[in-house]
Amino acid sequence: MSATLIAQVAIGGLLMGLVYAVVAAGLSLIFGLMDVVNFAHGALLMVAMYATLLIHRATGIDPLLQLPLVAALLFGAGVAIYRGLIARTLSVRVNAGMVQIFVTFGLSIFLVGAAEFLFGSDFQSINTSLLGGHSLAFGAIVLPLPLVASGIVALFVFLGLALLSRTEFGQALEATREDHEAVALIGIDRDRVFGIGWGIGTASVGIAGVMLANFYYIAPDVGTNFALIAYVTVALGGFGSIFGALVAGLMIGLVEALTALFIDPALKQIGIFMIYLAVLMIRPRGLFGQI
């Protein structure tokens, strides 16, 4: 096994890890803000991928150029989910956590069913796009262009999330996270902050969906696996920590790729799970978790 091959697989893994990190960041943002684990996160990734596919088929707009459009669409979906479902669970006094898990879980089943009903369960893909079919060569290391582009876009998402925390809204977000009740006294509309927080969280997963649509198959249950990895990423990085999601995503992408290379592609997730459990034994709140 040559060093070039190992390097190529490792870099590919890190790039995929950036995509995992973006999916996880959306989940972690919502969790950190209001302590809700969104079990429909994978289904929303699937929705973003189908949206990209349908817009591409209908208008011919390249997936890459659809980024702002689909992100805005998913932002709206996030706000709607908050207003329609999550806001109602906040007033629940008994086992609110379980209610939220199962409301979002029910939503997930509903969305997967709707996709199956509308588009069938066959795998689909976008065959002609700006990025598709090209690859980048760095010496002997060759990487598919869509994957490289996804990694770059992912870094921009994290940059955006970092900048967000410096804005006035970012500070309102932080304040609401600290104390839901007290922010009302200083004139922050809790419902509005929560709604926009959900919007940003689902817009992140929307961006990941658009980039994945460039090179990944599209099917009703495509989100399941990404969501599973996202939960592990969030727990590994620490619930609520965006930076933790980035580090954990990179770790998971790398470990997954190397496990597939050195052990067995069928067992690639075993590597992820082992690392996760090992870290959790030492740090029960993940790498950067405070809650």
């Binding site: 209610v99 089943i109 067992l267 959790l280």
Partner: protein
């Protein structure tokens, strides 16, 4: 008022056991009034899930430890008894004990590291361990990997729990299972352990200050819950006659086990039974009626139902009955 409405604790518990006996008699007679083979199968499945959800409820409801990895214990039970029968010719009547002991032991072992984790970290850890074992099982040739194991049918027999056409024997097997787990939950509710666990669930700090050792309490709840789930896995394997990692170890099964308890009323005696009685028929009938005509509609109906129930009845379906009991008491008072 509240005291008068609920009666004393002993009275309430006596009422519960009487109601349980009445429901048991009703369910024992139910198949005599249902001739349709499909509906009889549906009832068998509902009873199985009533037992499984109650088993989950022992750890998730009474002790407050939300596990999304219970498929692991179900799968260990299913595989233990199936392998014992197909490889060694051991009767499932023994396999039931072996499966129960092994899955209870597995739940204990999973609990050792996981109960050091709190809240969502615990949930995700149970989910990950479950998925890890499912993945390993799907690649383990000794247990036929992803192809699964078929239990060959020789003759109708109680010692082999083998009945080809008759559903009735399995109706009573599953009814006995659901009733047994219900009885265990009833006993736990009135026992010292039950009070310990609920104290642990409600307020860990307060429980500790009363001298309850948290960690052993959780481990005991996990072992009982895991063993009860494993026995359900054993019964499922012999009822269906075929097992593979997808149908006995997958994450979706872990959710299906937990869901009736949550929808029915988490941490309550009747919640799991009520939840199963609503969810399993809706799910199965919507697949049968809508699934074949237009794929996906069955999932939409099921998902919408879960959302609606969780929002409309966050305390669970049992709250319908509790509400009425309170109103009646108010009328009399």
């Amino acid at each position: 008022m509240a005291g008068a409405a609920r009666g004393t604790l002993t009275m309430r518990r006596r009422r519960e056991i009487l109601l349980g006996a009445a429901i048991l008699v009703f369910l024992a007679l139910l198949p005599l009034g249902v001739g349709n083979v499909y509906l009889r199968g549906l009832i068998v499945l509902t009873l199985l899930y009533a037992g499984l959800a109650q088993a989950w409820n022992i750890l998730g409801g009474y002790c407050g430890q939300i596990s999304l990895g219970h498929a692991l214990y179900f799968g260990i039970g299913a595989y233990t008894s199936t392998l014992l029968l197909t490889r060694l010719g051991v009767s499932p009547l023994f396999g039931m004990f072996a499966g129960g002991v092994l899955s209870g032991g597995a739940a204990f072992l999973v609990g050792l590291p996981c109960f050091r984790l709190s809240g969502h970290y615990y949930v995700i850890a149970t989910l990950v361990i479950g998925m890890m074992v499912a993945l390993l099982a799907a690649n383990w040739d000794f247990i036929n990997a992803a192809q699964g194991i078929t239990i060959p049918f020789h003759q109708e027999s109680w010692t082999d729990l083998a009945f080809r056409t008759a559903i009735l024997p399995f109706h009573y097997v599953m009814l006995a299972y659901a009733a047994l787990i219900w009885l265990i939950a009833w006993l736990i509710e009135g026992s010292r352990w039950g009070f310990f666990w609920r104290a642990v669930k409600d307020d860990v700090a307060a429980a500790r200050s009363l001298g309850i050792s948290i960690y052993p309490s959780k481990l005991a709840a996990a072992a009982i819950s895991g063993a009860a789930t494993g026995i359900g896995g054993v019964l499922y394997a012999h009822y269906i006659g075929f097992i593979d990692p997808d149908s006995t170890l997958d994450l979706s099964l872990s959710v299906l086990i937990a869901l009736p308890a949550v929808v029915g009323g988490i941490g309550t005696l009747w919640g799991p039974l009520l939840g199963a009685a609503v969810l399993i028929p809706v799910q199965q009938l919507s697949v049968a009626w809508l699934g074949s005509a237009a794929g996906g509609i069955d999932l939409m109906v099921y998902g919408a139902l879960i959302m609606a129930l969780a929002l409309a009845r966050p305390e669970g379906l049992v709250s319908f009955f509790q509400g009425r009991a309170r109103e009646e008491a108010a009328d009399h008072g």
